[in-house]
């Protein structure tokens, strides 16, 4: 009886086993078959080359170069140790140690540092760990020659971004690096993978989809150590498209030299086409830091530097425009017919609003509009401002494209800010007073604009109300890009712009004009200076924005020296920059 029970129990057990086999092999069979295929078939992606970036003369700004990384496969270290007869734990470490000693010797670094990078990077036995990046070709050859001794070592060839001109156009170009989580979520369906190298900021990011090559790859069958057993398929990686920019790298170089590490920005734009010739933000950085094998601290320093070298001040920096804003005031006053060109105000050197005193730079005496612009008389524009009222000023400022993105083809552009009653109320900062209107009339207070916005404003003035679309792209591959030739036009009478232009021209030509220092022989130059006060007791911002008609092209420009003192400093820089441009036949 008991044996019968045992028999039933044993057969029951085997029925269970048979059911288990049926479940595993038939019901889940397809699933496990797929897993087994995934197990052995691995796709090794090969990133395509990125397209080159060139300036408008064809000079290469961003290129690719071959680089060599050293990788170590953890499993292979162990197996070399195991094959040396005994399998005690000690040997394993010995295998690793001699390897790290060897690598340290070849790469001229401390073997301990190599071992440290290895142990930090180790994730799974079959995933190779990168222990050294971007080594020299000679070092790569030495390591390859010794692979028979250290089968766990692998030298991986890859293409690395390289910026031959260094700082030259850093902000404009951006840089490349590992894809960020946010970028990956946005662009999953476009074939980006976790390992993708993508553009960060600048043209590299904005035109990433054109620049990035199509990733190819090899499909290989691997064994459990991830070693290749045979090649199953191969698809060649495709090179991305080259992009030609509107930038002039010589102009960039000159601007960089002249600004000489002072914080600030230079924008030079062809005012007829909107092509940006020069876009310099200072202090700058070398984008090669982000792609090379520099110590990681270097990148950290860039971001922790209080002068924010990575910030692109031309489009991301929002500053009070100071007296440059008087251009908007003049247009608004004339268009609303609150003033005519001959409207005259007396400047006693200050303006008294009730008990508050608003100062002017000098005692200008009687000023008409042209004089007010040329001499940058605050009192003149206090009067204009009071006649207009803050809402009208805000409306005209926006109409002229201030306080909103220019939609240049670069990422992370800032809006700036045009203050007003509504904005005050929305932000809960209290009411708007007449004093605020006075401040705003001379581009002070909360108002903030980007240097690019001011450069575009100057183009608008020079072109009778045409708002050009600034852009940095000229051609993708051999195909010219035309989509930015679109122009907006503000419907303001030409004569109004003509009057303003006279004022801007007078600022340069008039002996007492604020920008007289820029009166370069042979160049038609007009502009408006600005010395914007800043809070916190820091030095003023120095502005000079305007337009110039040269032999070769007409430009609109804006120069800003952040906390650079008097606008005179910006004018000096403009003079030197334009002289150089003329010498090089750029202007």
């Amino acid at each position: 009886m008991r044996l019968k029970i045992i028999r039933v129990a044993i057969f029951g057990l085997f029925v269970l086993i048979a059911l288990g086999l049926f479940y595993t092999q038939v019901i889940q069979g397809q699933y496990f078959a797929r897993l087994s295929t995934n197990n052995r078939i691995r796709v090794v992606p090969v990133e395509g080359w990125r397209g080159q970036l060139k300036d408008h003369n064809g000079k290469v700004l961003a290129d690719n170069r071959l680089s060599y990384d050293v990788m170590v496969t953890p499993q292979e270290i162990q197996s070399t140790a195991l094959s040396s007869k005994d399998s005690s734990g000690l040997r394993e470490e010995e295998g690793g140690e001699s390897l790290f000693r060897f690598l340290g010797q070849v790469l001229a670094v401390d073997p301990k540092a190599v071992a440290q990078r290895y142990s930090r990077g180790k994730t799974a036995p079959f995933v190779p760990v990168v222990v050294a990046q971007d080594i020299s070709k000679e070092q790569a050859i030495v390591i390859e020659e010794n692979r028979y001794r250290f089968p766990s070592v692998l030298v991986q060839e890859s293409y690395r971004r390289f910026y031959p001109l260094g700082e030259n156009s850093a902000h404009l170009l951006g840089y490349v690096g590992k894809i960020s989580t946010a970028q990956r979520e946005l662009s999953d369906e476009y074939g980006y993978s976790m390992q993708s190298i993508v553009g960060h900021s600048g043209v590299e990011e904005y035109y990433d989809s054109y620049l990035r090559g199509e990733a190819g790859g090899v499909q290989i069958e691997v064994n459990s150590r991830g070693q290749q057993v045979r090649l199953l398929g191969f698809r060649e990686a495709q090179k991305g498209q080259d992009i030609t920019l509107t930038i002039d790298s010589d102009l960039q170089q000159d601007a960089l030299e002249l600004i000489a590490q002072r914080p600030g920005a230079v924008v030079v734009m062809d005012m007829d086409s909107g092509e940006v010739l020069g876009l310099v933000s200072s202090p700058g950085f070398d984008p090669n830091v982000f792609v090379g094998s520099r110590p990681p601290g270097e990148i950290g320093q860039l971001f922790s530097n209080p002068l924010a070298p990575v910030l692109n001040r031309t489009i991301q920096g929002a500053f009070p425009p100071g007296s440059v804003f008087k251009v908007v005031m003049a247009i608004a006053g004339l268009h609303t017919q609150k003033i005519i060109p001959d409207t005259t105000f007396i400047c006693p050197g200050f303006y008294q609003l009730k008990r508050a005193v608003f100062r002017c730079t000098h005692v200008h005496g009687a000023q008409n509009l042209i004089g007010g612009l040329a001499h940058s008389c605050n009192v003149y524009f206090y009067n204009v401002g009071l006649r207009l009222g803050s809402e009208t000023i805000s409306r005209y400022a926006r109409w002229m494209g201030l306080g909103e993105k220019t939609s240049i083809d670069l990422p992370y552009e800032e809006d700036g800010l045009i203050p007003g009653r509504e904005q005050r109320a929305l932000e809960g900062k209290g009411g708007w007073r007449a004093g605020d209107t006075l401040n705003m009339s001379i581009g002070q207070g909360e108002i903030q604009v980007t240097p690019l916005q001011l450069a575009r404003l100057m183009a608008t003035v020079a072109r009778n109300g045409v708002i050009v679309q600034p852009h940095v792209i000229k051609a993708i591959g051999d195909t010219p890009v035309n989509q930015f030739s679109y122009e907006r036009r503000v419907k303001i009478d030409e004569t109004i712009f003509e009057t303003v232009r006279q004022g801007l021209r007078a600022a340069v030509t008039d002996e007492a004009g604020t920008a007289h220092v820029t009166d370069i022989p042979g160049l038609f130059l007009a502009g408006k200076t600005g010395t914007a006060q800043t809070s916190g007791g820091k030095k003023t911002h120095a502005w000079f924005a305007g337009y110039a008609k040269g032999k070769n092209r007409n430009i609109a420009f804006c120069i800003l020296l952040e906390h650079g003192g008097s606008s005179f400093n910006a004018c000096l820089m403009a003079r030197d920059l334009f002289s150089r441009m003329m010498a090089k036949n750029i202007l």
């Binding site: 044993i10 069979g29 397809q30 069958e221 064994n223």
Partner: protein, 368 residues
């Protein structure tokens, strides 16, 4: 009738061994991880094992009964020797070297425990000079004392550490208690007591044994460590589907995704390359062999033979079922070989010994 059973045992044993050799050939085929030597080794031991089986089936049945205690005692000495002078492999001490041959005494224990218990339960037990009430006497004589005897080797094997074999021996002990017609309430009480002790036993487990038990519950908690083997073996068996990938064509096997595939996990090679069809065929062979053993046990007139036959059959059945079960993730990975199929020389010989013994008792119906 007896002749038929003997023939069937030979037939199914040889079929199983053959199946195992085919699988082992594939597991070691042109491979750096598993040397082809493993296959030839097993081939030699197949011949040796079958010879042992034949010899054992022909010796005097009486000797098994007479030497049961002595051999068991000697085996315990060997187990002690292993603990203090044995050879390490894979973090455990299971082997000793005798005359240049590596030998795993715990495998032999499996057979010797069966013989020892069979003799003990067949009523010829040492006398106790205590004056006790009947109940206590039953508990002491039928459970406590035999458990203490078998427990010595279980403990020594557990210390190696080899949890799987220790548990297996415990299972055999319970089955033999049951087959020995001990009253159910004693067995029930004993098992209940053991159940209560299990949580305390947890603390005596080695970390890797705890890992294995936890990983059994969810292999994915450690896919590259303890769970790796189970995941890979399940993938292997499952991907074989109904008819398998074909001999020497199992990718999990040939590309080294299966660790320990020539020993404890040999069944994953069979499942992958021969599919459900092959796997069920092998299971069928085992069931047939077990059936023969049970028939012999049922027809035994003397209790020693019946108990010993039951023990041998139970050992065969448990090892086969647990081994296959652990390969497909039904049971925890406990390091138990698949009889006659896994590579393992001592294991192979001991099963040959046990089946030889089974034939032996089938030839002679009574001892005395």
């Amino acid at each position: 009738m007896q002749r038929d059973i003997e023939k069937k045992i030979w037939l199914y044993t040889i079929l199983i061994i053959g199946f195992g050799l085919v699988a082992l050939y594939s597991a070691s085929f042109e491979n750096v991880r598993v040397s082809q030597q493993v296959f030839y080794d097993q081939l030699v031991f197949a011949g040796l094992g079958l010879s042992v089986m034949y010899v054992i089936s022909r010796v005097d049945y009486r000797h098994f009964y007479d030497t049961a205690y002595i051999f068991y005692a000697l085996n315990i000495l060997l187990l002690i020797l292993v603990l203090y002078g044995g050879r390490d492999a894979l973090g455990a001490r299971r082997w000793i070297e005798i005359g240049g041959i590596n030998f795993q005494p715990s495998e032999l224990t499996k057979f010797l425990v069966i013989l020892m218990l069979a003799r003990y339960f067949s009523k010829r037990r040492p006398m106790f000079l205590f004056d006790l009430t009947e109940k206590i006497e039953v508990i002491l004589l039928e459970i406590v004392f035999p458990f203490a005897l078998a427990g010595i080797s279980m403990y020594l094997i557990f210390k190696q550490p080899d949890l799987g074999t220790a548990i297996l021996l415990f299972g055999i002990f319970v089955i033999m208690l049951f087959a020995g017609r001990l009253k159910m309430r004693y067995i029930g009480g004993f098992l209940a007591l053991v159940m209560i002790m299990i949580p305390f036993g947890w603390h005596f487990l080695k970390p890797y044994q705890k890992d294995r038990l936890l990983v059994f519950l969810n292999p994915n908690i450690d896919p590259l460590g303890a769970g790796y083997t189970v995941i890979q073996s399940k993938i292997a068996v499952g991907s074989g589907k109904i008819f398998g990938k074909g001999w020497l064509a199992g990718t999990q096997n040939q590309l080294n995704f299966l660790p320990e595939r020539h020993t404890d996990f040999i069944f994953s090679v069979i499942g992958e390359e021969w599919g459900l069809a092959g796997a069920l065929l092998l299971v069928f062979f085992y069931v047939q062999l077990i059936n023969c053993g049970l028939e012999i046990a049922e027809h035994m007139k003397d209790k020693f033979g019946m108990l010993a036959a039951t023990g041998v059959v139970a050992m065969l059945a448990l090892q086969a079922a647990i081994n296959i079960g652990m390969v497909i993730g039904l049971f925890p990975v406990v390091g138990i070989t698949l009889p006659f199929v896994s590579y393992g020389r001592t294991s192979f010989l001991v099963f040959a010994l046990m089946l030889g013994f089974l034939i032996n008792i089938s030839r002679r119906r009574t001892v005395f």
